[in-house]
Symmetry: C2
Subunit: 432 residues, 2 copies
């Protein structure tokens, strides 16, 4: 039997609308799951238990308003919330109370969503880990920086969560935790109320256990009327893109990509091998240059006045960033801009590229939040991406593939993602 907290958001919303489920029961089930599992997972920085239940009861009393009426969501603790602390994963800001909601949080609430609480982020969405553990294996990282958001959705503590990505902060935790993780096209989804890390790269993202839920939340953030995914009219043409980072891929990531290609081909997709132009090989380093340069210039206050409460690793990034000069930074920006201009041609008419999501399975906690190498290039290019878990044997750790579409082709990416998820078949959504 499916427990309410295991329902997809869109299904739960529909059940609430037609009276089959109450928001109180749904929120209660999520809270019960959190009670049962939080000690092991550590997904939450702040839990608004009583407030969420009160809002659920209030939602149940009125007529359902909005496409997310009564649906609980999780919010990365990098997003401002007017009624909860927003600590950005830093001891400096533990009790920080911004006076507003981040734009996407306000949009979700206006659509009826109930914020359960704030999920653990690495320090300032950079690399210093928080307390969260992988729900599939407490000795392993959930990935970062959106660690708690991915873990909460994977563990059925919430059906939907917001995150951000500057290097690999959506794709990596989604892959490690075994949920779908969508990073929007750069600049499309508003980031008001989210502290910048590297402004040329920071992008909003959404975690869910279904593509339909991602599409629903995306519509809400954009202020559009949600439309159901219809799927591509015929099996899509996909580009198998091993990328210049392929040598870094470990056996599980290689096997996941092979399996995914086999399944989508079996379902009728045409899959062409795509070799990216040679220039793309420089993008991983370019992304790192841009990110480090901009981080140092966005965190001047903390680096000059609160340095003693920064982690050594974040301080090192700020120092390294100041040593990068503007010429090197602009050269990196030019490399990215040039590759952006080549991307549409490079995709050769494919609806999406299918590419590794991470080097492999979640590494042990001691190794930090894992290597962002499979995502840096796509973040720099500003493309929308979708991490999709691939089927795995019982007891195996999650591994994902990553779909990448052309910039601003987010609706197409989600349609293709839905199709691919179906083609991957059962096992992809195996729970923790």
């Amino acid at each position: 039997m499916t427990m309410p907290n295991e329902l997809d958001a869109s299904i739960a919303a529909e059940q609430i609308r037609c009276g089959k489920l109450t928001s109180e029961a749904l929120v209660g089930a999520c809270l019960a799951r959190i009670d049962a599992r939080e000690r092991d997972v550590g997904a939450w920085q702040y839990l608004a238990r009583e407030q969420a239940l009160a809002q659920a009861r209030e939602s149940d009393r009125g007529a359902p308003r909005g496409p997310l009426a009564g649906v609980p969501i999780a919010v990365k603790d990098l997003f401002d919330t007017f009624d909860m602390p927003t600590g950005l994963g830093s001891p400096i800001y533990v009790d920080r109370r911004p006076g507003w909601d981040a734009a996407c949080v306000a949009a979700a609430r206006a659509a009826g969503a109930i914020v359960l609480g704030k999920t653990v982020t690495t320090e300032f969405a950079s690399f210093e880990p928080g307390k969260t553990r992988n729900p599939h294996d407490p000795a392993r990282t959930p990935g970062g920086s959106s660690s708690g958001s991915a873990a909460a959705v994977a563990d059925c503590m919430a059906p939907l969560a917001f995150g951000t990505q500057t290097a690999a902060s959506i794709t990596r935790p989604a892959a490690f935790c075994g949920v779908a993780g969508y990073k929007a096209t750069f600049g499309e989804l508003a980031l008001s109320g989210v502290r910048p890390l590297a402004h040329s790269l920071d992008t909003l993202g959404i975690f869910a256990r279904s593509i339909a839920d991602i599409a629903l939340m995306r519509s809400v953030v954009l202020g559009e009327s949600p439309r159901p995914l219809v799927g591509p009219a015929s099996p899509p043409r996909l580009g198998l893109c091993r990328t210049p980072m392929w040598p870094a891929a470990e056996a599980p990531a290689r096997a996941a990509l092979d399996l995914a290609v086999e399944r989508v081909r079996a379902a009728g997709a045409i899959v062409d091998e795509i070799e990216l132009p040679a220039q793309f090989a420089a993008l991983t380093q370019a992304q790192q240059t841009i990110m480090t340069y901009e981080t140092a210039r966005n965190y001047v206050f903390e680096a000059t006045r609160r340095a003693e409460r920064l982690s050594a690793s974040f301080r090192a990034i700020c120092e390294a960033g100041l040593r990068i000069d503007r010429a090197a930074y602009l050269a990196a920006r030019r490399q990215v801009a040039e590759a952006m201009r080549m991307l549409t041609d490079a995709m050769q008419g494919c609806a999406a590229l299918i590419t590794p999501a991470t080097r492999g399975e979640a590494p042990p906690l001691e190794g930090g939040t894992g290597d962002p190498v499979m995502s840096r290039m796509w973040t720099a290019l500003g493309t929308p991406t979708l991490a999709l878990p691939v089927p795995r044997a019982a007891g195996a750790l999650p591994v994902a593939v990553q779909l990448v579409a052309d910039r601003h082709a987010d609706p197409l990416l989600l349609e293709v993602g839905e199709w691919v998820m179906r083609a991957l078949g059962e096992g992809a959504r195996r729970r923790a």
Copy 2:
């Protein structure tokens, strides 16, 4: 005799370094000017009088640290400050106390600058005016949205001020108040700690009474060692660009452009007429579409939960923005991207374009903050711009020309700006 508050920041900093001037005397002179004039000008939202004096004395006691040691600055009340309220020009946030400094404010302070206080911004840096009046004529607007920053620098209340531009919020107040106003290349100067209005357009800017001061502050924000402006080796080649908005230019703006061209030609510059490709005519409308669409999506919290304390004009923008659909928004973004690709060629090797800064002189207060039409296109293109006051008859209102360089050519723009400012000659810096 030049009073300390009339000194350029770089000259004052040099005098402080060599012991000719104390920071306390400089800050005291600025405060005395504010005392004498603030009732008429209304540049300040918050004045940190005692704190600034205490910091000045402390600065005087130690060895001068940093290139802005002891120099007072003004900060638009859109930039977060950890020790002063940041109200964003809205009654909603009058007592808002962010726990950090905006990145540029932290950088200026780390370079020794003393923040005198927060200057008036229009509501959320949009169009609803604040209390500030034009220092040259209290019946006229100072322009907006960086109204108080431009007025404070023009009135010698502070030598340097931060502002932002999303449509014309640097260029227009600089032109109306008769000071130099620099808008950086989009994305180059960090905006952490500045609430986004329209994230594809928002750009940091600096007001000063000299180009040297702008170059100095820009270096500080970038974390670079300041280098003196050396000026171009030979008179620059400039492009006289009347733009598709020329029919909107009124007689004073036309005369200012004619005079500027005459003076730079007399000083040896080659000035070619540049006709922009036809596609550029659509950019003013495209900028408006992008700005309205993004504003509505960045201000969801206020529009849904604080609507009664928004101005009618800001509420109308939020409503209009939600009615713009994504297809129209992306079409506008594409128009801009296409023009960006054409700009370098369109400039035909000119170091900078010389173009109108505003339609004309500052209009009466009843007309709001003036028409942004001469700036929208350049903001959309992300080019660096520099508003330079042109010489005027005693008693006449300020008018400016605008220099525009290619993206990321900010250092060249400032060198050319310094050269043009010299060519314009005395009268350009006439005080209020």
